[in-house]
Symmetry: C2
Subunit: 466 residues, 2 copies
């Protein structure tokens, strides 16, 4: 008998929702549509809706709700925009989805310190909109217009992590509500600190299992004087990867360097009506002064030529840059266009960059051998790549095939000294790989979880089974 | 009655050392000189020697020793080079100093991945010596030739953190022996990962209280094509800080930017027989291509001039660079030369950079008002600065005065939204400030410590009192 079917548990839950309803009025909802929308909606993981959704507006409210959920032993699942990809917001044990999207104030911007303080529901695009006139931007760009709280919780990164880092590097401090309702402030506004345990980094990537993030202090960057975009085709994946390695060794400060494989390029040509070479292609961006970016473009063109790549085409004006990068921007929809009506599974792994060419090549062979259709797109400067199998999710045979492929993909990444996920997180989708990747460290993670959330109230059933 | 005076505890300790002696022979020592050398020797914190010192040579040995210490309930204090500044290696409850300096193998270097794996006793200079011919270097430079294990344990940084980051940013993964003797591997060789809790960052800066680091995977950088050094005097601290802020906002990739205040400059002129202006002065280093560094120097000179600084003097050849930076390199000894025979207390705090000028200026006023002699040197790009009071440690009145000053220094940094230490750590010296800085977070840190080291075996009496 599942926990929420135990009569006493059911009573506690009903009493909790009655209390929350009278306290928060229409901000508590049990509408089926809203509940489904607050569970996993992307890729193939089953939608497991919470019992109710509550919209919080302040840290004090989060404290109140966490305490009530803890008393009632009802799971609480923090929710931002629901754009995570591994089932992070599902409610496998039911419970309350705590929607933080209304906590969307930009609390402060400190241009001299290149930092800002935001509530967790602010999305990265909303923040960048706000910052633009100050000549500043927040660089982490996972593609989706995710909430910054969610991005911290999943340790998100994206296309320009190679230059600006991931959420691990760009969050200076956090306010979080822990499972006992206590409010902690971690880190701070100093650029660095050697004071005490790094609780900021512990919360980043903890996927809502250790605390509900209610405020973030973020490191910002100045909008570069000049941005130059470029694309450069290569005969082989190896050539593209070797050029990337050479550029990094030389210390070229690449702002973005993205690899699209031949299948993705074919998809992009078809989708965006382009006539690009259907070979592995690097999409690049250079940030700096005019002279510095010009020098970087020239240096990269020479490196690429030595690896059989080219011609490199570059552009400085925004319109032309957008046109050059259109294929990359449309990659997801172009991929979907390869098999209209099919489902898409977006997965990622990350390996040391020296292993990237071999790992991508073997993955391509595996895809073809398995009879899947799946483009590959990589944040190649980090050794991180995405595979997007297009699958008829109603077909058990296809599901079985793709599951085998996903298992082999992770095993291959781990065999190359890599990780099961570079940026999507564990959620539910990758729990089974955790022990293979981390060994005895999983027990340490579990010990921390038990120490900080002994009742397993916060986002249970994610990262590890407890 | 202190724990080690309880007869039963004394017996357990004697039995432990007998066991260790017969197992490790002369690698276990109870010589008074060696024990004193393995306790705090720098600044003013009292030397509290361990009962014995053991030189470990492998991870397996560390496991063995940790288990024996845990069984006997005897504290174990990991030891690298003993260059930490806040009493981190003291043995307030006695116990065993576990010297890791013989674990000094460079296990692997992967030039294509810009990473390496080292044992914890490798010092940063030994590593850089080894890397030089490959065109690579490890950038974190805390001044002392510290061991890399110790640098990770204290979350060290130093002069070029502004460009290359601290140990937080440059450690990709760790192997550590926990208090129960289990061996964990955290992180890995992938540049980024969203897989599970960030145990790497939890161990970095944990000062030996959570685990004994026995291997590190480190991120390396390519030696830049061109290095240009520069110095630039300013009329005021404000001018120097404002120029730094402007340069960072512009995205100038400063490799180092160090501030020496007028007292430090006077000390340097006297010590190194120089004739530099005795006003606040920035020491800079630029890394990049020849064209890029030339452009950076020019840009910074213009910024400095706008803030009343200059003339900026720069140099590219190594000899000339060394000559320009001589005052910075000799800063510590020059400071000591201000009051020969006196003790020196090296302390640090870190604040948001917009607050740096005010914090340094108020600190200078406090020093003068208190009647102390204390130069100030800052890693100004991070908002981190050092104060080095020269004190007759035998004089109770001077000790009292300097203690009051240190308390006010931290209070001031915290009032400016800063941290009690940017890079030296908490150790024993800053334990009293932890609650003021972190509030309820201290309880979370303590809960983690208790979960992972319930017997409080690993470096007890550091960071917090348990």
């Amino acid at each position: 008998m599942a926990m929420d079917q135990v009569p006493e548990a059911r009573d506690r839950k009903d009493a909790l929702f009655a209390t929350l309803g009278s306290r928060f009025g229409s901000r508590l909802s049990t509408s089926a549509a809203l509940r489904e929308q607050h569970a996993h909606t992307l890729t193939w993981i089953r939608n497991e809706p919470p019992d109710a959704v509550l919209f919080a507006e302040t840290t004090a409210e989060v404290v109140e709700v966490v305490k009530l959920c803890a008393e009632a032993r009802v799971p609480l699942i923090p929710f931002g925009t629901g754009t995570s990809l591994e089932g992070h917001v599902n409610a496998p044990f039911g419970g309350l989805s705590l929607d933080l999207s209304r906590m969307n104030r930009i609390v402060a911007v400190h241009p001299e310190d290149l930092d800002c303080m935001v509530e967790p529901g602010v999305t990265r695009k909303a923040l960048n909109e706000h910052l633009r006139d100050m000549g500043l931007f927040f660089p982490v760009d996972p593609g989706a217009d995710a909430s910054l709280g969610g991005m911290a919780a999943t340790r998100a990164s994206g296309t320009n992590a190679v230059r600006y880092g991931t959420m691990r590097d760009t969050v200076l401090g956090l306010t979080a509500v822990l499972a006992d309702g206590s409010v902690v402030k971690t880190g701070g506004r100093a650029r660095k600190s050697a004071s005490g345990y790094d609780l900021t980094r512990l919360l980043i990537g903890s996927e809502g299992t250790l605390g509900v993030i209610t405020e973030l202090t973020l490191k910002l960057s100045g909008i570069p004087e000049t941005i130059v975009a470029a694309i450069c085709p290569f005969a082989t994946i190896e050539g593209a990867c070797n050029a990337t390695i050479a550029a990094l060794q030389l210390g070229l400060p690449l702002a973005r360097i993205e690899l699209l494989d031949e299948v993705q390029m074919r998809a992009c040509n078809a989708y965006s009506h382009l006539t690009l070479a259907e070979t592995p292609t690097l999409f690049l961006e250079f940030h700096g002064t005019q002279a510095a970016t010009a020098e970087q473009v020239e240096a990269f063109a020479a490196i690429a030529a030595a690896e059989g790549g080219g011609p490199l085409v570059s552009a400085g004006r925004q319109e032309e840059r957008n046109r050059l990068w259109q294929a990359r921007h449309d990659a997801y929809w172009a991929a979907r266009g390869l098999r209209p009506g099919a489902g898409i599974i977006t997965t990622d792994v990350c390996v040391p960059i020296s292993a990237l060419a071999a790992c991508v090549t073997q993955t391509r062979q595996d895809i073809d051998r398995t009879g899947l259709l799946a483009p590959i797109v990589g944040h190649v400067g980090d050794g991180n790549f995405h595979v997007m199998p297009l699958v008829d999710l109603a077909n058990p045979e296809e599901r079985r095939k793709v599951q085998g492929f996903l298992d082999r993909l992770v095993a291959r990444a781990l065999a190359f000294d890599g990780t099961s996920t570079g940026e999507h997180g564990i959620g539910q989708g990758k729990m089974n790989y955790l022990a293979a990747e981390h060994g005895t460290s999983v027990e340490v993670m579990a010990a921390i979880k038990k120490a900080l959330d002994p009742l397993n109230i916060l986002n249970p059933g994610k990262i590890f089974a407890l």
